[in-house]
Amino acid sequence: MWIDRRCLDVALVVSLVLTSSSFITRTSSLSVTVNEVECVYEYVLYEADTVSGNYVVVDHDIFWGSDHPGIDFTVTSPSGNNVHTKKGTSGDKFEFKAPRSGMYKFCFHNPYSTPETVSFYIHVGHIPNEHDLAKDEHLDPINVKIAELREALESVTAEQKYLKARDARHRHTNESTRKRVIYYTLAEYLLLACASGLQVVYIRRLFSKSFGYNRV
């Protein structure tokens, strides 16, 4: 992440005495339309932080055929290694331990030409360990417990966001099914009536005087 100037200065001053706490806020679940490749960057402050999150492809349009390749998701570490990959899905949860601190790249790749909307949520969580505790005397062991509690709550929140996004997609599918049921059934009635009308008209013409009914 880009830490703006002011924050950087503060961080430099404070880090001399106090390690920054485990409190790292979350961006809420956002949606982005993926045309081909869409990447977002997120900064991981500490090595061995747990990066977790989920993504759901919301805009399924009507439905994907069974041969649709799905959306690919890749996470690249700052050194260019592929940390996490998931190919061809319509949504997934992920969690990994960051091998090093730095700017991580989260990319969605859409192999098809139709743009898809992806709703995603990324969380970087840090729990102060004994090393941090030893470095700084202001950090209580209770801070570790609070951090663990916060991380547990964050995982619940993440799960909720995932469920919410999946529920939205499910709802979308159901509403489109309902509309299609009604329209196709009405179209079927109309078609039936038209076919039968055409049949009657044809038979009438066959028997009309201009043909002469002995031709039938």
Binding site: M1, W2, D4, C7, V10, A11, V14, V17, L18, S20, S21, F23, I24, T25, T27, S28, S29, L30, S31, V32, T33, E38, C39, V40, Y41, E42, Y43, M103, V124, H138, I142, I146, R150, L153, E154, V156, T157, Q160, L163, K164, D167, R171, N174, E175, T177, R178, V181, I182, T185, E188, Y189, L192, A193, S196, Q199, V200, I203, R204, F207, Y213
Partner: protein, 213 residues
């Protein structure tokens, strides 16, 4: 000097503790648009901050790296609009529940440059201004942390209610679709038989009139 520093340090520490600087970053090519949307409940606070990264440190931002930002609700109401800026922020209380979209346009420029935008969008409880809460109540850090946790739990609880409601609506929708399908299939049978009957009757009278039968 040293005493001032020592006095300042806890303050600064509190600042870092309470208002971490973290946001989302994405790239935007010149002349292109990118939109990020988020679902916001009605009457909840929403705060957003965006800035363009300066490609050359220390020098003023080049004209090619200015952006236009617009925040709209799903009903089309405009909540924020700035033109030709390099950074800015917005805050609003969502009047209607729905998908809010923040769209970024990069100024069209030849040759095409890639503008990197930092964007931080918080809604609901994450938008709460904790440092001011801390200053107002002069609570200690631990208590503030626990207050934050309490807020998170309330939020989770509310979300659960919301999810439950949505599930209820979905069940209703499915049940009604199910019964509607059943009725329509029955109706299609009736339509089929009646159309066939009409055909038969019409042709019979037609042939009787023509004296063929």
């Amino acid at each position: 000097m040293r005493s001032i520093a020592l006095v300042l340090l806890p303050f600064l520490a509190a600042n870092l503790f309470l208002s971490p600087c973290q946001s989302l970053r994405f790239d935007l090519k010149s002349g292109h648009t990118k939109c990020i949307s988020e679902e916001i409940k009605s009457n909840s606070m929403s705060v957003g901050k965006y800035s363009v990264l300066n490609p050359q440190e220390g020098q003023p931002m080049p004209e090619s790296h200015k952006i236009t930002v617009r925040v709209t609700s799903s009903y089309g109401n405009n909540y924020h609009f700035t033109d030709h800026v390099e950074s800015g922020q917005f805050a609003f209380t969502a009047a209607e529940q729905g998908d809010y979209m923040a769209c970024f346009w990069a100024i069209d420029h030849r040759p095409e440059v890639t503008v990197t935008i930092e964007f931080d969008w918080r809604t609901g409880i994450t938008a709460k201004d904790w440092p001011s809460v801390a200053k107002k109540g002069s609570v200690d850090l631990m208590e503030l942390e626990l207050k934050k946790l309490e807020d998170t739990i309330t939020y989770i609880h509310d979300e659960m209610f919301y999810l439950r409601e949505r599930e209820d609506e979905m069940q209703e929708l499915n049940r009604s679709t199910n019964s509607r399908m059943a009725w329509m299939s029955l109706l299609s049978l009736v339509v089929c038989l009646s159309v066939a009957g009409l055909q038969l009757w019409h042709l019979k009278t037609f042939f009787e009139k023509k004296k063929i039968i």
